[in-house]
């Protein structure tokens, strides 16, 4: 093979690899991006149905209930404006408790109940998950706009 055609082959190979990688990344992005919604957005019907997304906010005080099996937990997550009921089966993070920030990932059922597959709380008692903080800030901002 001539050096020129060899170089051409190498370049073609590299381009093919890059195109393949980009296709792979875009496809994976398409399928696996998880969007974040505040409880208000969910209540307004802006969240997708049948696709996983995240909700952040505070765990409403007095809302945690355990089913008879002891493992399924019901609680509500709020941004102080709207409240979304959540159901989750499994062990909860150590720092999950009422009145504290949390982020849940899962899908919204037709009954308006959020089926969580994952519950995230933080490693540090004083630290609020940014998404939870964001949801509360948004709700407060909206409330101020209405008040004016």
């Amino acid at each position: 093979m001539k050096p020129r055609s060899k170089r051409l082959l190498l370049v073609a190979g590299a381009v093919a690899l890059l195109v393949g990688a980009v296709a792979l990344v875009l496809n994976a992005f398409q399928q696996n991006l998880v969007f974040f919604h505040t409880p208000t957005e969910v209540a307004e019907g802006k969240a997708p149905v049948g696709r996983a997304f995240r909700i952040g906010g505070m765990v409403e005080t007095g809302s945690i209930r355990r089913a008879a099996d002891g493992v399924t937990v019901q609680f509500a997550i709020t941004d102080t404006a709207k409240v979304i009921p959540v159901s989750y089966k499994g062990s909860l993070p150590d720092l999950f408790s009422e009145g504290k920030g949390a982020v849940v990932q899962g899908t919204l059922g037709p009954d308006g109940q959020f089926q969580a597959s994952e519950v995230l709380a933080k490693h540090d008692e004083n630290y609020m998950p940014p998404e939870a903080q964001h949801a509360v800030d948004q709700a407060k901002k909206a409330a101020q706009t209405v008040a004016q």
């Binding site: 093979m1 050096p3 060899k6 082959l9 590299a14 690899l17 890059l18 990688a21 792979l24 990344v25 496809n27 994976a28 992005f29 399928q31 696996n32 991006l33 998880v34 969007f35 974040f36 995240r54 355990r66 099996d69 002891g70 493992v71 089966k89 499994g90 062990s91 909860l92 150590d94 720092l95 982020v103 990932q105 995230l120 933080k122 490693h123 540090d124 008692e125 004083n126 630290y127 998950p129 940014p130 998404e131 964001h134």
Partner: protein, 657 residues
């Protein structure tokens, strides 16, 4: 008084770092031996100053001096001594000091072990390291002074975050930082090479052992961190594709590419500009990692309270480092010739293929890690990119890497015949496909992922066995001992590290595909079944610790009526931090882990218990261990020392301008 001494010592270290950054550089460009010689003592003095400052900080922690802000927030009189010490770096300020300490340690190591480098080259290496150190020390002193006083002092400290009060956290941060920071040496060598215009095989040979040792530390650091997440976070996972994990994984991927690219540059003089670019990128990603972890810009399972303002400083540092080094690269790289040519079937080509694939894989991880940040910064919405994305992209990209990885050592440099290469490998190929499919059927889990993982693992392990066999075949007639003795350490290093990948793939595949989990409510005397094991809940007793209260459950594990283990998971409550903590209990076995954690207590007196069955999980860390040991072998090869000595008198690359 002692914290003030530490503070003063740190300022002294900054001054010495600036001396080390400026004077030898001037000396190298003007060819003044006297100025160049300043670098070595400045670096060593700087190390002593930082070590002294670190000692002062440690002293404040050990003696519970709560007039020191950092100790008051991160320590407690009841904290066990070992966690008082590790509390020094279990926080932002202290971990930066650890960063600076490990940088100065690496610098001193260079001054001690690379004595044979030409003076001008050494001066430039020390100069570059001096600039990095000056950047980090000023960052520490200006934005994150660990020696800030708290006046009036408080009577009691707030204690270290309970998650960090763990054996894994004693060694994880130092190992990881030694790895991260170690790439600064490869970076400094690359920049010095660009500055001096000397970018030849000798440069690659000097740089190789340093890069390998840094890679060993990073490998070990990541493995220990992953082990910590496995047993301490209490969900039995070992890798979450979390931004902070990715932050350490990206330099590892590029570092792996760099090690192999350096090999080509040393042996064949090829890939020179690519190697330099990799050295710059690997260190830039280390800085990016520091930025991601320390700035608090990301939502992460590891995001401890952080301060965004500080992020700006590291970001600026990152921009300067990348900007300056890439400008220098753009200016100098065109002078580099391509090096030796090679055929499509050659070791050079397999290494090139793997280098490109590793770089692309790093890019895909980088994209997944940073994309949510960009969207958020541009106010385009909040998203998260989870493990499914990374798995969907990473596995297909790594599959050809693993295939080529086995081929590489069989192929000759420069050019080879495809037939000659494939002859010993065809049986390996057939056998690994048969084993992969057979095992997947046998364990009843025939999915693409499982079969692919098992085939690749068999390919690597059988390929490694075949490679060793071919060493014997080459020296037919020699005794086994003679053949083994004749193999250089670097070859063993490669062999072990590659076999480690095979072991790792087995662990990741089996644990990923066949793990089982059950969350169940249990009362004393009740039993539960999982994966053929019977778990009997014996009840819960109080088990107070030095700085926490705990409820400790006793759970007997049996298989077919034969007792296997008694596990005692705990639910701890750390008094000072008012923080609950789950402490899992694990029966570790060669072929499976049985993992139990204790959840909440319910009103009727029963407890929620998490039961996990994790087949082959310890192979994940065994694989990492083999890779790290392989790295140690590779770096210890006599060749580096011998050749360095022979090369040096001829090291006439001192610029005469």
């Amino acid at each position: 008084m002692i914290p003030e001494l530490g503070h003063f010592s740190l300022i002294l270290a900054l001054v010495l770092a600036l001396v080390q950054a400026i004077v030898p550089m001037i000396g190298a460009s003007r060819n003044r031996i006297a100025l160049m010689a300043v670098g070595r003592p400045a670096a060593q003095g700087q190390f002593l100053a930082i070590a002294f400052a670190f000692g002062c900080l440690t002293w404040a922690f050990v003696t519970s001096d709560f007039s020191l802000q950092l100790a008051a927030v991160n320590s407690h009189t009841d904290t066990p001594l070992i966690y008082k010490i590790t509390g020094v770096w279990g926080n932002h300020e202290g971990s930066l000091l650890l960063w600076a300490l490990s940088l100065s340690l690496w610098t001193v190591a260079v001054t001690v072990f690379s004595r044979n480098l030409p003076d001008a080259f050494m001066a430039r290496v020390l100069g570059v390291l001096g600039w990095i150190s000056a950047g980090f020390l000023s960052f520490t002193l200006v934005t994150s002074n660990p020696f800030d006083r708290l006046l009036p002092a408080v009577a009691q400290g707030r204690d270290l975050n309970p998650l960090l009060q763990d054996a894994g956290m004693i060694i994880h941060p130092p190992l990881l930082y030694m790895g991260y920071v170690g790439f600064s040496v490869a970076f400094a060598f690359a920049i010095a090479a660009l500055l001096s215009g000397r970018m030849d095989a000798a440069w690659a040979r000097w740089s190789r052992p340093w890069t390998t040792v840094a890679w060993v530390f990073l490998t070990a650091g990541i493995a220990v961190g992953s082990g910590w997440a496995y047993y301490e976070l209490g969900w039995g996972g070992w890798w979450f594709w979390d931004p902070v994990e990715n932050a350490s994984f990206m330099p590892w991927l590029l570092g792996t590419a760099l090690i192999h690219s350096l090999a080509v540059t040393e042996k064949r003089g090829a890939f020179r500009s690519w190697t330099i670019l990799l050295a710059i990128s690997a260190f830039s990603l280390s800085l990016l990692g520091t930025f991601l972890v320390r700035s608090g810009v990301i939502t992460s399972v590891h995001a401890f309270a952080t301060d965004p303002r500080r992020g700006l400083f590291i970001l600026a540092l990152l921009v300067v480092v990348i900007g300056v080094s890439l400008t220098l690269f753009a200016w100098r790289a065109p002078k580099l010739s391509g090096g030796g040519s090679f055929g499509l079937v050659s070791r050079d080509a397999t290494l090139l293929g793997n280098n490109v694939l590793l770089a692309v894989a790093t890019g895909s991880v980088l994209l997944g890690t940073l994309y949510p940040l960009f969207l958020d910064a541009l106010n385009l919405g909040k998203i998260s990119v989870g493990p499914p994305y990374f798995e969907a992209v990473f596995v297909p990209l790594m599959t050809p890497v693993v295939v080529l990885m086995v081929l590489g050592p069989f192929v000759r440099w420069k050019g080879d015949g495809l037939g000659r290469v494939l002859r010993p490998l065809l049986p390996v190929m057939v056998a690994s496909i048969a084993i992969g499919l057979g095992v997947a059927f046998a364990v009843g889990h025939v999915t693409v992922r499982t079969v692919l993982g098992l085939v690749l693992a068999s390919w690597v392990l059988l390929g490694s066995a075949q490679l060793l066999a071919s060493r014997f075949a080459e020296r037919r007639g020699a005794s086994a001992a003679a053949v083994l003795r004749g193999i250089p350490a670097a070859w063993w290093g490669m062999w072990l590290a590659h076999a480690g990948i095979g072991i790792f793939i087995i662990g990741a595949t089996m644990a990923g595909s066949l793990h089982e989990r059950l969350d169940v409510k249990m009362q004393p005397g009740q039993t539960a079944q999982l994966a053929g094991y019977t778990f009997t809940f014996r009840g819960v007793a109080d088990a107070p610790g030095p700085n926490y209260d705990a409820a400790r459950a006793t759970i007997d594990v049996a298989r077919s009526g034969i007792p296997v283990a008694t596990l005692q998971p705990e639910k701890r409550f750390y008094v000072a931090q008012q923080m609950p903590m789950t402490e899992a209990s694990i029966d570790i076995g060669p072929f499976r882990d049985v993992y139990v954690n204790l959840g909440d207590r319910l009103d009727d007196g029963s407890w929620v218990v998490g039961l996990f069955y994790k087949p082959f999980i310890s192979w994940v860390w065994l694989g990492c261990l083999l890779m790290a040991v392989g790295g140690v072998f590779a770096a210890s090869d006599r060749r580096y020392r011998r050749l360095a000595e022979r090369e040096v008198p001829a090291g006439a690359a001192r610029r005469t301008t």
